[in-house]
Symmetry: D2
Subunit: 146 residues, 4 copies
C-alpha cells in the first residue's frame, strides 16, 4: 500500500449505498458467502453508484476511451453473510490521487445492521487505447468531488 | 429427457416472477452475461419463489431433512443480457412426478420485455440423510399445487 | 431442440478429452460441484480441444472475425463431483449444420471412471461484425471433420 | 491489519508452488482474468499444498472438527492473466500466531515468468463446532513448520 494512510473510517466524501441480495450461487462449502464474492459485491456497488450517484456510468467512461483498473484490494472479514441475506454496500472516495482514487467500503447485513466486512481498493484511471495510467480529467473530478 | 413431453409454453400452474439485476461479475469476455450464469439466475428465482410464493424456503426443506437435486437442465438462448440490465425470471411447475417436479422458466429483459432465454429443469426430492429420491410428501404437494 | 435427433451416444466424430481439477470455489452449499459449473467445464474443454486437437483456437477464430455463440445447452446429472476430484471432459461433434455444430459431452470422474454427467450444446458460427449466423467456412470444416 | 509487519518478500518458511490454467469462465468484460478470481486461485493453491506439501488436507482438518477462516486478504495487481494462460501460485507461511497463520502469495505467468500479483491473507484456526478461534494444535504446527 503506497497511498498515504488516512484515519479510517472517517470518510472525506459522500458515502453512497447500494442494496443487494445474496444469490444461492454465492454460497460456498462452509454455507457462507464465498470470500472472493465480497469483492464482486463491491464492484457491483461501484458500478451502480458510478451511474446513479456520480452520474458517470462505466459505459460512459468507456465511450470516452477511459477505464478504471484495480491496483490493489484489501478486505477484513468480520461476520459472514449467508443464504437469503439482504445487505448494503457503502462506498466512498477516501482520497484522490493524480491518476487514481482510493475507495473505502463497508458491507452491512440488512436485518441486523451489523458490519460484515470492510476494506479498500485503489483504482487507477487508464486510457483504454494505451492501457496506461491517465491523469483524472477535470470533468471527472468535478462529478467525483461530492 | 425421460419426462412426458408437454405443450410448451402452456403452463399448468401459477407462474411466479422474480426481479434481479445483472452483476458486473456475470459478464464474460464477449461483453454479455456468461452462458452458465442464467442457470444461477433460475436457481436464485426458485429460492426466492419457494420462500415467497410457495411458502416453503429451501432452509425449511433442509430442516425437515429434505433437499432438491437437479436431475437435468436445458436452456435455449434467444437474446443476451448485458451490463446494467434488469430482468425478470418467470418459473412455474409444468408437471409433477412421484419424486420430482419439472420446472419451466423464462428470463425476460425488463426494459424491452423481450425473451432472453427459456428452458426447463427436473428437480428430484431427496432425503438428505440417504441422498436417495423420496416421494414428495403431501404437505409439500399442497403448497406446490397452486 | 430443433436439430435432428441422433442415436446417443454413438459419436460420429473423434472424441477428444481434457483433464481438469475441481477448484474449491466450484463447490456449493451442498458440498458438491455447483450445477452450473459443469457448463463452464465443458466450455474450458472445448477451448482446450479447439486449440490442441482441431488446430483452431478461439483466438484464431476471433482474428478471422468469427465467433461461436451458444444456441442451446442441456445436461443430465448422474453423479456429483466433489472437492479434490480430478475429472476428464470428453467432447465430440455429433452433427454438422450449415451454420453450426452440435457438440456432445461427457464428464467422468478420474478415480472411479464413472460418468458424472452428459449432455449436448448447439453452437452457431457468427460473424463478430454483424453478430449474425454465418455458414461454417470450408477451412473450418476441413479441420473439424476429424 | 493487526499482525506485526514483516519484511516482504523475505519468506520465513518453505515456498510451495501449484500450477493451474486460466479457465474461460474466469475472463471478464475487459478480456482479463476477473479481479476476484485471483483469490480463488490462491485458495485452490492452498488446498492443493495443504494436502500435497504439508500433509494435512482441508478434509483432514474438517474430520478433526477444525477449519480455517479467512480473517483478511490483500492483493496488489501488477500484470493481468488472460485467456489460455498457465500460471503458478507460490504460497508460504510468513508468520505464525497463536490462533492463525499469515500466508503470503505470488501469482506468476508461466510463459514469461513475470509476477502478475502478490498479496497476503490471515487465516484463523477455528473449531467447527463453536465457530470460535482455537490455538493451532501442536500436531498441526509440526507439519506446518517446514
Amino acid at each position: 500500500m503506497r497511498e498515504k494512510a488516512l484515519d479510517y473510517p472517517e470518510p472525506s466524501r459522500t458515502i453512497f449505498e447500494s442494496q443487494m441480495d445474496v444469490r444461492p450461487d454465492d454460497i460456498d462449502m462452509f454455507q457462507h458467502v464465498h470470500a472472493s464474492k465480497y469483492q464482486d459485491y463491491v464492484l457491483a456497488a461501484r458500478f451502480d453508484q458510478m451511474k446513479r450517484c456520480y452520474g458517470i456510468s462505466m459505459e460512459a467512461f468507456m465511450e470516452k476511451g477511459l477505464g478504471w483498473f484495480v491496483r490493489d484490494f484489501s478486505i477484513e472479514y468480520k461476520r459472514s453473510l449467508g443464504l437469503g441475506d439482504r445487505f448494503k454496500v457503502k462506498t466512498w472516495i477516501q482520497d484522490f490521487f493524480r491518476t487514481g482514487v482510493c475507495v473505502h467500503f463497508e458491507i452491512i447485513r440488512k436485518t441486523t445492521d451489523k458490519l460484515c466486512c470492510k476494506g479498500k481498493s485503489h483504482y487507477t484511471m487508464v486510457s483504454l487505447a494505451t492501457q496506461r495510467p491517465e491523469p483524472i480529467p477535470e470533468w471527472v473530478l468535478e462529478k467525483y468531488r461530492i
